[in-house]
Amino acid sequence: MKEKLLKNNTLIIFLLLLIGSSLVSDSFLSGNNLQNLLRQVAPIGLVSIGMFLVILTGGIDLSVGSILAFIGVAFAILSYEVYFAAAIAIVLLLGIGIGAISGYLVAYQRMAPFIATLALMTIVRGAGFLASKGAPISVGEHSAAIMYLGTGSIFGIPVSALLFFGLFIAVFVLLKYHVVGRHIIAIGSNEEAVRLSGISVERTKCLVYIISGFLTALAALMVVGRTGVGSPNIGIGMELDAIAAVVIGGTSLAGGRGSVFFTLLGVFILGMIGNIMNLLDVTAYLQQLIKGIIIILAVLFQKRSI
């Protein structure tokens, strides 16, 4: 592990950004801003972890941004119709269901992941617009707990961030200690050999899309909790941010190789870039441009070390 840390430049990039940010802006290290940063990072972080697992198997999930919007809308609508807990349960199941469809198409119908999830991306985005008639829906009054998830904090740490860290640890443990984690990594390297070793490649592949759908639904609840509305417009391009975080974390897009810890760092690297530019009042357009350049630099830097 120590060797890995030294060999991988993601950590260095992370530290450089951290130090650089605190130097150029006094308010960067303020408690308020750090809380803000954690809150911004938590949802995209969850989505990135799901994306990471999918990419480990050699796949890709383009539907996450659409799922995020759709689940938000669905929750907002349901918050008027059913009990709060039921609404949560239903939307999480919806996330799982959408993931299962992608997984089914990829694993059992052998569709290319790019195509299958591209189709779902469009379908689910459309469904979100249809259900909301194109306009944001504010969440019903009694959804206090969901607000707590979005805005609350324990000992100064946002609840959403705690949940994100918890799930990060869960995935870390899954990959290191669990049979399924082993299977996920193995499949990304050599699917055929895994199949001949008596492992159900289909089931494992399907599972990673389900996990991705589930984590994205959770992320959607965080976003709704923070903003108080379910909007069909959000999450556009989010899949690309998630992929970027995974790639900055040094995971091979071909599958089989990668670390969830570095994905976490990748998420924070992207998050900090956005955060510091906001603090410095960089305009949104310029932000995009700079972000793209930094992604290229990070990955180049990364390559050198492998």
Binding site: H178, V179, I185, S189, E192, L196, S197, G198
Partner: protein
Amino acid sequence: MPMLKLRHIKKYFAGVKALEDVNLEVTSGEIHALLGENGAGKSTLMKVISGAHLADEGEIIFENKPLLKTSPSISKSLGISIIYQEFSLVEDLSVAENIYLGKGSSMKWLNWNHINKSAEVLLHSLGFQINVRQKVAKLSIAEQQIVEIAKALSSDVKLLILDEPSAVLGTAELAKLFVLLRSLRDRGVAIIYISHHLDELLELTDRITVLKDGRSVETVFTKDISKDDLVTLMIGRSISQMYPQKRYTALDGKQIQINNLQTVMSVEPISLILNKGEILGIGGLVGAGRTEILDSLFGNYNNRAEIIIDNKKMVLRHPKGMIEGGWGMVPEDRKRLGGILPMSIKENISLTNLGKISNRWGFINLRKEKEIVLQLIQKLQIKIGSMDDPLASLSGGNQQKVILAKWLNVAPQVLLVDEPTRGVDVGARAEIYTIIQELADQGVYILMVSSDMDELMGLSDRIVIVRKGQLIGELQKSDFSEEIILRMALGAN
């Protein structure tokens, strides 16, 4: 004056020794064998010559000029061609494309007719027939090996290096290869030939250099040395007995009956009987459909075969179902089907057995995993640095042992093995034979495909012969003879 001269070559991989001190001279017009145990450093040495690896220390002198910062493209332009132990063909390209990959100016338009034609001519002149428009992914390993050879010979060669070409070739192809190599030698080409089959070296080569633990121990003239002396030079002791004592007698009479088995190659369904504790060998030419039989039996080919074990019927399902039913298969194609190269040695070995070393929530007992893997590594005497190293970092023969270990790990009731000792050195081969025999003695049903005639006759209790996907004959131990087997395999009567 030697064409190639290596002096004090040294090469380490991240602190792991591959080569310590190697001296080697190869002259034009000779076939020079390189012999050594698995992991002795043969492949690494060849890669140093071809420029795929840079030596840490030492000199390479080729045609009186030192090769300093060499690379594969430099060595190629000098007339050094190498056929690597692990293939380097592009699977999605056709045979012809592979052969002419990287040749000719990149600015010119490709003339497909011309490329296909000359590939065909080249293969034909080497004595082989392969459809050059076919994708490499569709070829058998033997055919892939032939394409590799053709590729190496498609440009002017002064020094030709072959790293275990015979491991995947059958008798017939091997004979053709020998003819080819001898004619190249007579034209003044220098050839380095690596193989673990001593008979081949004695038959083909002029001189033999023995490598041990990264050092060149000795170079001898082939005509002056006996097989036993070679073994002693190589592993430091002699092997009194290559094949284990046979104990099999069909005592308890338990059988597996296989009826109505279809394979990709079979026109008519196949029937087979396996006896408990017996090693049944499958003989035949490369491409005769032997691997396909194992493949079908392991549930890789949709069919309506009927399997009766001890009077109980079993359905043929996918590999997962077969493994749950106590079957195991060591596949022929180590790189594509056998192992997962980027994964660690440990994870490769335990992959088939995770269910047994994890609790009911699916969490793996890492300590137990380590223990079991360590035992298997010791049992098979696999030469490794750490079990956490990737499988890819092992020498070819040691990779093969890892894959065997992976299947021993499931303690199968029926074990299908396809070329079990491909690329394994003499000493280790004897150990693997002992292990397979032990399994059989413990009552495991064993079905083995082998292109190595010695191995097939030495280890099998009974042999069936396959030609064009059909079983065409059966021999009992007392009737084994190389000639009869070959004749049946060829279809001559």
